[in-house]
C-alpha cells in the first residue's frame, strides 16, 4: 500500500548491482514460474546482460527533468455510456472448466 502523496517516481532502471541467482528465484516465484537450476543460471546471465544495456541510459544527465509517464500526450477518455457486452457462452467459450455460468478454477491457496 503506497502512502500519502509522494514525489513522482520512475522505475528504478539503473541497477548497479548484478542480479544473483537468488534474485531470479524471487522473480520466478512472483511470476509463478518453475525454473530448473540450468534455467536459473541462464536467465540470471541474460537478465544481467539486458540490465547492462539499459544502464547506458543512466549516463544521460536527467537533473531537473520531470519524469514522463507516457510518450503520448493524448487525452483518452470515454463517456459513461453502456456498450454491448459479450454473450455468456462466448465469454466462457475458451475456459477449460465451466460451471453455472462461471469459470471454474482449482482450489486457491494463499501465497
Amino acid at each position: 500500500m503506497p502512502t500519502g502523496r509522494s514525489e513522482p517516481q520512475t522505475l528504478q532502471v539503473v541497477i548497479h548491482m548484478a542480479l544473483t541467482v537468488d534474485d531470479i528465484r524471487q522473480i520466478a516465484r512472483l511470476a509463478r514460474l518453475e525454473l530448473s537450476a540450468e534455467e536459473e543460471r541462464l536467465f540470471t546471465d541474460q537478465l544481467n546482460q539486458l540490465i547492462e544495456q539499459v544502464e547506458e541510459m543512466g549516463q544521460v544527465d536527467t537533473e531537473g527533468v520531470p519524469p514522463m509517464y507516457h510518450p503520448l500526450a493524448t487525452q483518452h477518455i470515454r463517456e459513461d455510456k453502456p456498450r454491448a457486452s459479450m454473450p455468456q457462452e462466448k465469454a466462457l467459450d475458451q475456459a477449460p472448466d465451466v460451471e453455472a455460468g462461471c469459470f471454474r478454477v482449482p482450489k486457491i491457496t494463499e501465497g
Partner: protein, 490 residues
C-alpha cells in the same frame, strides 16, 4: 482506551462508484446480473484489448475528494499493481501510486458527548474492482474449487485512506457512518454494504496511554459492516494488549476478520508480504484534470451533512445530536425541511421530535430504509396543526400518527372518522369529574387528608373515561373543583 492502553486505528475504505459502466470499458456496472454477462475483451483481459478511462468515474472521485475536503491532483495517472489471484484476469490491478487524485482531506465526527473530532484523509485513489469468487465449500481453506464471475471485474472503486487518527471502535463507527452519509448525499456511491459497495480494511495498533511512538500494527482485511468493524477493532486491540502484557511482542501481520467466530486469524506475516512491483500503466496515458472540470464538480456539490447540522442548529435551535441524526440521510433532511416549510419555523422542534421519536421508531420496527418514509411532511404538518389548535391531545396525536403510517389520509380526516376530537367542553367533563368523585370515597378521603397527587389520579380517570380525548389541563382544573365542592358539602 482500556486500563491505560490506547488503540490507534487507520482505515482503508473501498467504495464502488455509482457509474453506469465500468471504469476501463463500456460494460454495465450492475449488481445482481447473471454471472459473466457484463464482460468484454477489456475486463476479461483478452489479448490486445485496451482500457479507456470512464469520464464519470473521474468526476465522481473528484466529487468525493471535494466533499471530503481534499486537494485535487491536476493529473490522473495510473500504475499497475501486480499480483495473481483468480478473480483478477489481467494479473494486475490498475490503480494509482504516487499521485492519487485526492489528498490531504478530513472528515469531522461528532461524538455522543457532543465533542467533535477531525479524522484526516491521507489520500483517495481510483482503481478497478476484481471479479467475484464463489467458493464451493465453507471458505477459501475448505473449498475444493472456486467459481469466478467477472461481472464485477473493472467496476470503478475508490480507496479512501485515513491517517491513524481514530482512537476507538466508537470513533471508527462514527467515521464510517459519516463517510457513508457524505458519499450517499453526493451520489458518489449507493454505499450498499450488503451488496459489497463499501468494504473496509483496518490498520490497528495499541500503545500505553501517553506514549509518543505507535505500536506495531496489524491489518484486518475485508470487514463489510459498521458493526463488524467495531467488533473487530475491540477484539484485535484486546488481542494485542494481551500479547504485550504477557511479555510478548506484536508481529506485523495481515489478518482476516471472521465475524461468525468473533476472531481474527492470521493470513500472512511481514516476511511473506506481497511484492506488488508497481510501475506506470503503459496502456493508459495520463489524463489532465482540467480546472473547469474541478469547478463544475464543485458547483454540483449538494449541501453536505456538516452544513445541514449547522443550519438546523442555527436556524431552529436543534441540539447537535438531534441535527446530526436528521443529517445522516439526505431524504431525512428533505423531509424535515418540507415539514417545517408547511408547519412553520416555530414548529421546527416539534417536527424534529416527531421525526426522531415516532417516525424513526416506526421505520426501525418495520425495517424501512430512508427512501421508504411512510408519513408525508404534509401529513405531519396537518397533525401538528390539530395539536396546536387544541383539536386533539398529544396522546391521541400519537395514535393518529400510527394510523397515518398505514394510510394516505390526512390527520383531520382520521380524527373525524375515529371521533378523536379533544373534549374541552367543560359541562360534560365536569359531569364526569363529579361522578368519579362520588364513586371513589377512598381516594377522596386521601385528598381530604392532604394527599394532593390524588387530583392527578382523578384526572387520569377522566382521561380513561374519554379515551384520552379530554383536554388534560381542563380535566385537572375540573377535578380539583369537584373535589373541593365535595369536601365543602361535607
Amino acid at each position: 482506551m482500556t486500563n491505560g492502553w490506547e488503540t490507534v486505528v487507520g482505515l482503508e475504505v473501498h467504495v464502488e462508484l455509482a457509474t453506469e459502466t465500468k471504469v476501463w470499458c463500456g460494460c454495465k456496472n450492475e449488481f445482481g446480473a447473471e454471472p459473466n454477462t457484463n464482460v468484454c475483451p477489456v475486463c476479461l483481459a483478452l489479448p490486445g484489448a485496451l482500457p479507456v478511462l470512464n469520464e464519470r468515474a473521474l468526476e465522481l472521485i473528484i466529487k468525493a475528494g471535494l466533499a471530503l475536503n481534499c486537494q485535487i491532483e491536476r493529473v490522473a495517472s495510473f500504475h499497475r499493481k501486480n499480483y495473481f489471484y483468480p478473480d483478477l484476469p489481467t494479473g494486475y490491478q490498475i490503480t494509482q501510486f504516487d499521485l492519487p487524485l485526492c489528498y490531504d482531506g478530513y472528515v469531522e465526527i461528532t461524538k455522543a458527548d457532543g465533542t467533535s473530532k477531525r479524522i484526516r484523509i491521507e489520500r483517495i485513489h481510483l482503481e478497478n474492482d476484481a471479479g467475484k469468487l464463489l467458493h464451493a465449500g465453507d471458505d477459501v481453506a475448505a473449498a475444493h474449487s472456486s467459481l469466478v464471475d467477472f461481472n464485477r471485474a473493472g467496476v470503478p472503486l475508490i480507496e479512501i485512506v485515513t491517517k491513524p487518527d481514530i482512537r476507538s471502535a466508537e470513533e471508527a463507527g462514527l467515521f464510517l457512518n459519516k463517510l457513508r452519509s457524505i458519499l450517499k448525499y453526493t451520489g458518489v456511491s449507493d454505499v450498499k454494504m450488503e451488496e459489497g459497495s463499501l468494504r473496509c480494511d483496518i490498520n490497528i495498533s495499541v500503545r500505553p496511554e501517553g506514549a509518543a511512538e505507535y505500536g506495531t500494527r496489524c491489518e484486518l482485511k475485508n470487514v463489510n459492516s459498521v458493526a463488524h468493524m467495531m467488533r473487530a477493532i475491540e477484539y484485535e486491540a484486546a488481542r494485542q494488549i494481551d500479547i504485550i502484557t504477557a511479555g510478548g511482542v506484536v508481529e506485523q501481520e495481515t489478518r482476516s476478520w471472521r465475524n461468525d467466530r468473533g476472531v481474527s486469524v492470521l493470513l500472512r506475516t511481514k516476511e511473506d508480504a506481497e511484492d506488488y512491483r508497481y510501475f506506470p500503466e503503459p496502456d493508459l496515458p495520463p489524463v489532465a484534470v482540467a480546472e473547469e472540470l474541478v469547478g463544475k464538480v464543485r458547483a454540483s456539490l449538494p449541501e453536505l451533512p456538516d452544513a445541514v447540522i449547522e443550519r438546523l442548529m442555527g436556524d431552529y435551535g436543534l441540539s447537535r445530536y438531534d441535527a446530526s441524526l436528521i443529517a445522516t440521510e439526505r431524504e431525512y433532511v428533505t423531509w424535515f425541511d418540507e415539514a417545517v416549510e408547511l408547519a412553520g419555523a416555530e414548529q421546527a422542534k416539534a417536527v424534529a421530535n416527531w421525526q426522531l421519536n415516532e417516525l424513526f421508531r416506526i421505520m426501525n420496527e418495520r425495517g424501512f430504509g430512508p427512501e421508504q418514509i411512510p408519513v408525508t411532511p404534509n401529513q405531519l404538518a396537518g397533525l401538528l396543526k390539530l395539536i396546536q389548535d387544541g383539536t386533539i391531545t398529544g396522546k391521541i396525536a400519537k395514535d393518529v400518527f400510527e394510523k397515518m403510517v398505514d394510510s394516505d389520509l390526512d390527520a383531520a380526516t382520521i380524527v373525524k372518522r375515529e371521533g378523536l376530537t379533544q373534549v374541552s367542553d367543560e359541562d360534560s367533563l365536569r359531569e364526569i369529574a363529579r361522578r368519579l368523585v362520588a364513586e371513589n370515597p377512598g381516594p377522596v378521603q386521601q385528598w381530604i387528608d392532604g394527599k394532593e397527587t390524588v387530583a392527578q389520579w382523578f384526572m387520569g380517570q377522566v382521561m380513561k373515561e374519554t379515551r384520552g380525548r379530554a383536554n388534560p389541563q381542563v380535566a385537572l382544573k375540573l377535578v380539583i373543583e369537584a373535589l373541593n365542592e365535595h369536601t365543602a358539602e361535607r
